[in-house]
Chain length 242, copies 2
DNA sequence: ACAAGTATACTTGTATACAAGTATTATAGT
DNA sequence: ACTATAATACTTGTATACAAGTATACTTGT
């Protein structure tokens, strides 16, 4: 078992998590980062031994990851699906789908409080940039979109978000870490984009919204590249350790 | 414990299901039918005793139902959310959302095989009507839409469907049972609608598609009424038993 | 009668044990 | 050398046990 880094997932985010959740978060990061390769087969017993816990939390974790579509539970062992470019595009399809839906609801709602809250989150993101805190930035980024989605009070849209969120979060985390290292200036553009997002909500202007979503969407290719770089970095680290 | 009917969920559909799944299906039907009221609190231990099984499968079932949004797992007991009119509308929002998305993909694909498969399923639905088999009809109805969605080969859209499906299925099951009893003629209209759906896919005609989705959507109110009637029927049965 | 603290009952999460089923490997017969 | 059958190792699903935490009920002192 190579544990090149004890835990890629911010331990701070796991303060109140159960063992099962911790395992899920750790496995998820390892899978999305490519540390655990697609096609691998995970055994409940082996994982239990590796993590030094019983099968119960492992089972919980695997069920969760199966729901998130990054592993497939089969009759004999769980096979890792991972995140190929196709899956990443698919996730963003879903995000585009639900965020468009959400905006259509928002234009008929009072959005003053929402705009205020989003502005606060954006401020936090700026601070995170200033202090080069990629993890905090990612957290606020995810929170930004979650706040928008939550605001329309639609339990089934929220259900979709909740299912896609963990994978999104891990993916963003990994790509943002690369950006903070190598494309630091790029972050200003992301902030700009979020400002546009807020403006679209504030003015309820569909054109700005579409423009903003486009910027977000076109950014996906960049994020995919980042993930690829992140995977490369990790594998070269592993090479060095040998 | 009133078990006015041993199991409202077709036992035939559970041939290869684990205890956990069976419990989930049974609880789901009881919740959606209103037999278990919204706001009730479910206890793992009590359920285990009632079903005569251990806590393990009960836990699995509750996790599943929580994912489907019909219960909420809280610190102390699981509270039943159930299906109000709001939730039903929300589910159909999601269906409309994903089926629209799917159609946009379909117009760029070869759909000959799909149309053939859908025609087969529609034939099955007609047979089910002929033999007044509400359960079989419901099964084929759900399968019809699942087949369409599956055809575009989009794992995250499929994920959304998989999460919404069990609740949809139960809901359709209950409302179709009412229709087969009380609005038998209405079924012809449903068949007509599905024929239109197939035609839209076959000709790749957006207008027909939108029309067809509209017919499906406008039908929701009817289904909601059916569910309401179904709940009434069940509660009057329970009254008589006292 | 009532506030404060204690006891009790019930909850969740994890560990462990076991039965039934499924691949893989080993063995035996041709 | 090869097929068929048996043994083995590993899988899943379920049951049971226990520790730690949380709400409810019950004292006890004022």
């Amino acid at each position: 078992m190579t544990d090149s880094k004890d835990s890629m997932y911010p331990t701070k985010w796991l303060s109140k998590a159960s063992t099962g959740e911790r395992v899920a978060c750790d496995l998820r990061m390892r899978i999305i980062s490519g540390q655990i390769e697609s096609g691998s087969i995970l055994s409940e017993n082996k994982l239990a031994a590796d993590y030094g816990v019983s099968r119960s939390p492992i089972r919980d974790a695997l069920k969760k990851l199966a729901n998130e579509n990054i592993i497939r539970l089969e009759r004999m062992g769980a096979v890792v699906v991972g995140l190929t470019e196709k899956e990443i595009e698919e996730i963003y399809d879903v995000r585009l789908l639900i965020e468009t839906f959400v905006f259509e609801r928002l234009v008929r709602m009072e959005t003053k409080n929402l705009v205020k809250e989003l502005s606060k989150i954006l401020e936090m993101m700026k601070i995170a940039i200033k202090y080069k805190d990629a993890d905090e930035f990612s957290y606020q980024d995810v929170l930004f979109h979650e706040t928008i989605i939550r605001s329309i009070n639609h339990s089934y849209i929220m259900m979709i978000w909740n299912n896609a969120k963990p994978v999104m979060e891990s993916f963003i985390l990994l790509s943002m870490r690369v950006r903070f290292e190598e494309k630091y200036d790029d972050l200003a553009r992301i902030v700009k984009n979020h400002e546009l997002y807020i403006e679209a909500i504030n003015t309820k202007n569909r054109d700005i919204m579409i423009q903003s979503l486009h910027l977000n969407f076109d950014d996906v290719q960049g994020k995919v590249d980042d993930l690829w770089r992140s995977q490369q970095m990790l594998s070269s680290e592993r090479e060095q350790q040998k």
